[in-house]
Symmetry: C2
Subunit: 401 residues, 2 copies
C-alpha cells in the first residue's frame, strides 16, 4: 500500500520516521509493505532523508491512484479540511491526528467516507498514542456506555502536577511548561480548556452516537486555580485535575463539559501526573475501565497514526465500522443542571450564603483567615450560582465522587 503524508511537522515527521524505523514490525502487522510515496509540505526539506518525496501541490497526490491512504497531520480546519474532503472524494482513506477537524466536522467527514466506501480514522486525535478510539468502538462494543471522563490535556496536567509537587504558582508552572515546550507561546487553547473540549467531543460523539459540537460544550480552564485551592484540596485528601466529561443522562440526552475537579487521592485518575493522560470509560457490562499513557509527543502520536495506517492496509477494500449521527440541540442537555458536590472558596464568612446546604469547612496550617473554603452537598450549578454570587466566591470546582 502506498501512502502520502500531508504536513511535515512534528507528528508528520514522526510518522515518516516510524514507518521507516519499525518497517519489519509494521509489514508483519499490515500483511504487506507500506510505502511512503509523497510528503506534502509548503516548505522544502533538502537535507531530510525523505527529500525526494516532497511535493507542494496536493493534486499530485489526489490524482495518483496508487496512493490508497493519506495521513493528514496539518492541523486546523483550513487546508486540512479541504484536502481531507478531496482525498475522500478521490477514494482514498484518510488518517488524522487533527482533533479540531474531527471535533467540528467529524459527522460530515465520516458520512463522506462511508459514501465513498473508504475509511476516516483518527485514533491519534485523542490521547496521543493511547489506544482509546478503537477500544471504545470495538472492545467495549457489547456495552452501553454511560460516561467518558478523563484528563485529556497534558499541558494543564503538567502544570497542576507542578503546582502540587513543587508548590509553584500558576504563572510559574505555565512558564515552566513553556520552557519545556509543553505549552505554546499562546497557551490559551490548553489552559482555557479548548483542547480538552475538542477531545471530549470526539469521545462523546463516538460513545453516544450523535455529533457533539465543541460550540455546545462549556469549557472552563485552570486559570482560576491557585495554590490556596491546591492546599485546601490536599487538606481533604484530594487533588485538583482538569477533567473533560461526557455523560448520557437517563432521558437519553448527552451532557458534556470541561472544568477543574477535586478528585480523591485514592482514585485511579489521581496518579495520572505530568503530561500523561488518563481516560475512564463506564460501560453497563464492564463497569469502569481506564486507559493511560502519554497524551502527546512526536512518537506516541505517530504510533497511533501508524496503527491506523496498518489497520487501513488490512481493510483496504472494507470500510471500518465507525460513524456517528448528526447532532443538534435536542440531543444535548445543559450540564449546569447536573448536581454534584462542590469545592468553594469565598471571602471569610461566605459560607453563610449557602444556608441550608450542608457544608464541610476546610482549613490547613497557615490557611488565610480572610477566606473560607468548604465542600458542599450535591447541588446543580444553576442552584449554586446565586449563592456563589451573594458570597462573592473566588472559585467553585466540582468534586468527582
Amino acid at each position: 500500500m502506498k501512502i502520502a503524508i500531508l504536513g511535515f511537522g512534528i507528528v508528520g515527521s514522526g510518522v515518516a520516521e516510524l514507518l521507516t524505523g519499525n518497517t519489519e514490525q509494521i509489514s508483519l502487522a499490515a500483511d504487506q509493505q507500506v510505502e511512503l510515496k509523497y510528503i506534502l509540505d509548503i516548505q522544502s526539506f533538502p537535507d531530510s532523508p525523505f527529500a525526494d518525496k516532497f511535493v507542494q501541490d496536493f493534486s499530485t497526490i489526489e490524482q495518483d491512484r496508487s496512493v490508497r491512504a493519506v495521513v493528514e497531520t496539518i492541523g486546523g480546519v483550513g487546508a486540512a479540511y479541504d484536502f481531507t474532503k478531496r482525498a475522500l472524494l478521490a477514494g482514498k482513506s484518510v488518517i488524522t491526528s487533527n482533533k479540531e477537524l474531527v471535533a467540528s466536522h467529524g459527522y460530515e467527514l465520516l458520512t463522506l467516507a462511508k459514501e465513498q466506501n473508504v475509511n476516516y480514522l483518527f485514533e491519534a486525535s485523542v490521547g496521543g498514542g493511547i489506544p482509546i478510539i478503537r477500544p471504545i468502538c470495538q472492545c467495549l462494543s457489547a456495552n452501553e456506555i454511560s460516561e467518558v471522563c478523563g484528563i485529556l490535556n497534558g499541558t494543564t496536567n503538567f502544570m497542576l502536577t507542578e503546582m502540587v509537587r513543587k508548590n509553584v504558582s500558576f504563572d510559574a508552572a505555565l512558564a515552566d511548561a513553556q520552557a519545556r515546550g509543553y505549552a505554546e507561546a499562546d497557551p490559551a487553547a490548553d489552559i482555557d480548556g479548548d483542547d480538552a473540549c475538542r477531545k471530549i467531543c470526539i469521545l462523546g460523539s463516538l460513545s453516544f452516537g450523535r455529533h457533539i459540537d465543541p460550540e455546545q460544550v462549556p469549557a472552563d480552564g485552570i486559570r482560576n486555580v491557585t495554590l490556596q485551592d491546591v492546599a485546601y484540596a490536599r487538606s481533604a485528601s484530594k487533588k485538583i485535575k482538569l477533567l473533560a466529561r461526557a455523560m448520557r443522562l437517563p432521558d437519553g440526552r448527552v451532557a458534556a463539559y470541561v472544568s477543574p475537579h477535586l478528585i480523591p487521592k485514592m482514585s485511579i485518575l489521581s496518579n495520572v501526573e505530568d503530561v500523561f493522560n488518563g481516560i475512564v470509560v463506564k460501560g453497563n457490562a464492564i463497569g469502569d475501565v481506564m486507559f493511560y499513557g502519554p497524551g502527546a509527543g512526536k512518537f506516541p502520536t505517530a504510533s497511533a497514526v501508524v496503527a491506523d495506517v496498518i489497520d487501513c492496509a488490512k481493510h483496504l477494500d472494507a470500510r471500518k465500522h465507525m460513524v456517528w449521527n448528526e447532532g443538534g440541540p435536542d440531543t444535548f442537555a445543559d450540564p449546569a443542571a447536573i448536581p454534584s458536590r462542590w469545592y468553594v472558596r469565598t471571602p471569610a464568612g461566605g459560607e453563610r450564603c449557602f444556608y441550608p446546604l450542608p457544608l464541610v469547612l476546610l482549613t490547613y496550617p497557615g490557611s488565610d483567615p480572610t477566606e473560607s473554603a468548604f465542600l458542599t452537598e450535591p447541588i446543580s450549578q444553576t442552584d449554586l450560582a446565586p449563592m456563589l454570587e451573594q458570597a462573592g466566591a473566588y472559585c467553585a470546582f466540582r468534586i468527582l465522587d
Copy 2:
C-alpha cells in the same frame, strides 16, 4: 450469525444475558443479528429463560453448519481443549475466556485456526473485560514492545489492598476474600501466582511473537508477605503488589516471572486496588501505556467475550491477524539473571551478609528489633541468593523502579 455457548457457568450465563440484554447495541456494532442457538452443558436448567437452547451432546453443535462461532466458557484443558479443536476443525471460530487453555495450547490452536481460515479469539482470557489483547495486536502494532508488566490477579490484589488498608494479616485477608467469593475454597491458583502466570504467558506470547509456556515461567505468590513487610514498604513510600512481567532482552530472548514487588506510591500501578487489574505495556514509539479495569466478574468478562463475538461477526469470512510462533527453551532467558533493586527482611544483623552491596536500612515506629529490613542496590537473583541464605532471610522482593 448463529452461535453456541459451551459451559453455562458464571461467564457463559453472563454472555447469554448480555447477548439478550444489550441486543440493539450489539446488532448495531455487529452489522447483523447475533443469535444464540445452543448452550452446551452437562446440567439442565429447566427454569432458565434459555431452557430451550440446552443440548448435552457437542456433536449437535459441531454438525450444525449454521453455527459459525462457538463461545467456550468451560475452563480447564480437558473437554474445553477437545471441543475447541473439533469446533475449529468444523470451520467454526472459537471465542474463549479460558486462560489456562490459551496459555498452554495457544500456539497449536492459533495455528489450527489459521489453517482452517477461522478465528480463535481470547480477549476475555486476560484482565476480564479490560481491552488488552486487541490493543496489543492492533493499536500498538506500530511499536516494538519491550515489556508487559501488570497486576493480573484480582484476588491477591484484593488481599494485599486489605492488608495495607486495614492492617489485617494474610490469613485474615484470605478469609475475607473467600467470604466475598473472590477466592476459591482452594485458593492455590491465585495466591501461588499460577493464575497470573498463565495470563502473562498469553500477553508475552502475543507481544513477543513466540509461545511462552507456563512451565517456563517461575511464579512466586504472596504467601510470604507479612504485615511487617507492608509496614516496611510503607516506610519507604511503597506498596507491595503481585506483578507478572514479561520482557524482551537486548539479545532478543524473553524473560518472564511472577512475584511480589515493592512499587512506588507515585506509580500509576500503585492505585490499582481491590479486585482491579492494571497492565502496563512499554513500546518503543509510545512509551508506557496502562490499561485498567475489573479483572474478573461475570459481566466484565462477558463483555470481552461478546466484543469478540461482534468482531467475529464482522469478519466472518476474514481471519483476524493474530498468531504467534512456536516457543522453546532457546527463546527464553532465566529471569534470575536480571538485576533489580530488592527489599530484604532478615534476622537482626543480617545486613552484614550483603557487604559490599550498598543498602538502605528501613525502620518504622514499632518495628521489630529482632529483624533487619533494607533495600539493596541492583543485583541479580542469582548473585543475591547466597547472601540471602547466609543471612537466613525471611523474604526478598524485587523493587519496581
